[in-house]
């Protein structure tokens, strides 16, 4: 049996924000989160960003996040996107409303339920904008500077998602 255990799959449509709650538990210390088919109505060149959700189900939007993202453009130079005490962690660069474009993102979450440590993230993404003929890939690290217990993850944008699919796996450690 694989030690990568699928523990949640969420589909959402016609929403600007989607949270997966009560998914991080003491059963795992590391989680893999996949975000697929992030289709959007409008918002070329904007970003779908990441926040964490506490164990009460509330999205943490305080200025408690640090992140650093390497932004790799197919048609331009690379960039650095970083912040301290931000209200989010950088996610996927959104594309346009073509049915064929979009992208994907994988995130690893470390120690979310450990109330003695901060919660750390690794993220990588790739997306394409038909309107701009532009592919953007990102590599991001992030941290929530709080020892609050984390129960889930939130993705949000200023515009509605047409459709999004999120899968969350736990990396099982058998002692």
């Amino acid at each position: 049996m694989s030690n990568l255990r699928l523990i949640n799959e969420t589909n959402a449509s016609s929403v600007a924000s989607v949270s997966v709650t009560d998914v991080f538990t003491s059963d795992f210390d590391i989680y893999k989160v996949e975000l697929l088919r992030p289709d959007l109505n409008t918002g070329t060149g904007t970003w779908l960003d990441i926040r964490l959700v506490n164990t009460s189900g509330s999205v943490i939007s305080s200025s408690s996040y640090d992140y650093a993202s390497l932004v790799m453009n197919s048609n331009a130079g690379f960039g650095e996107d970083r912040s301290t005490s931000a209200t989010f962690m950088r996610g996927l660069r959104y594309s346009s409303n073509s049915s064929a474009d979009g992208g994907g993102m994988v995130i690893y979450v470390f120690n979310p339920t450990n109330t003695s440590s901060y919660t750390f993230l690794l993220q990588q993404s790739s997306s394409f904008s038909t309107a701009e003929s532009k592919m953007v890939s990102t590599k991001m690290i992030g941290v929530l500077k709080s020892t609050t217990g984390i129960g889930g993850i939130n993705f949000y944008h200023t515009n509605n998602f047409d459709d999004v699919n999120i899968k969350i796996y736990g990396l099982r450690v058998d002692s």
Binding site: Y67, L70, F120, L122, K139, I141, V143, K145, T147
Partner: protein, 171 residues
């Protein structure tokens, strides 16, 4: 048939140890090492990584590496070196509150005695200065030996705590 992530070895450090060795690499599959909440006993230390041969760490000067170092508070930088005694591919961390190293490594060709052994790394660390920092890169062990695992330690002092798990990516 979907691939599987199969645990090969694990070590959870709750009282200080000099190093952790994870062995059990016995195929040409890709392997992954997951590390979380790794904290040193001494301040300002980085995780050093060595291959093991028959369970013994190899500390010869055969380690090359390169990485992009991403930082939350300032401009990114590059790191690289050749002919080192280990892979120094993680960021410095410390003993201050909430300082730790978390990351993943993928291991390639370790079992194959006809090719060099390779590693990729991605990590997210709170440094000894309390900043977010993480490396994205890789390394090579320039020896055609068969390696059965990996050894992790800090340059000086012990590992105070942390969980280290070796997985195989199997068909």
């Amino acid at each position: 048939m979907a691939g599987q992530l199969i645990q090969v070895a694990t070590s959870t450090v709750t009282s200080a140890v000099a190093s952790v060795t994870l062995t059990g690499i016995d195929s040409d599959d890709v392997y992954m090492v997951a590390m979380n909440n790794v904290v040193p006993s001494n301040d300002t230390q980085l995780v050093q990584v060595r291959v093991t041969e028959s369970g013994t760490p190899n500390s010869t000067s055969n380690y090359d590496y390169a990485f992009k170092q991403m930082k939350g508070n300032t401009t990114f930088s590059n790191g690289s070196s050749t002919n080192q005694s280990a892979w120094f591919i993680f960021s410095y961390t410390g003993t201050g509150a909430n300082e730790s190293t978390n990351g993943l490594m993928y291991l390639y060709n370790f079992n194959n005695a006809s090719e060099y052994s390779f590693v990729t790394v991605e990590e997210s660390t709170r440094t000894n200065a309390g900043n977010l920092q993480g490396n994205q890169g890789g390394g090579v062990f320039t020896s055609t030996s068969s390696c059965d695992g990996i050894n992790l330690s800090f340059q000086t002092g012990n590992i105070a705590s942390g969980t280290f798990t070796l997985y195989g990516l199997k068909k």
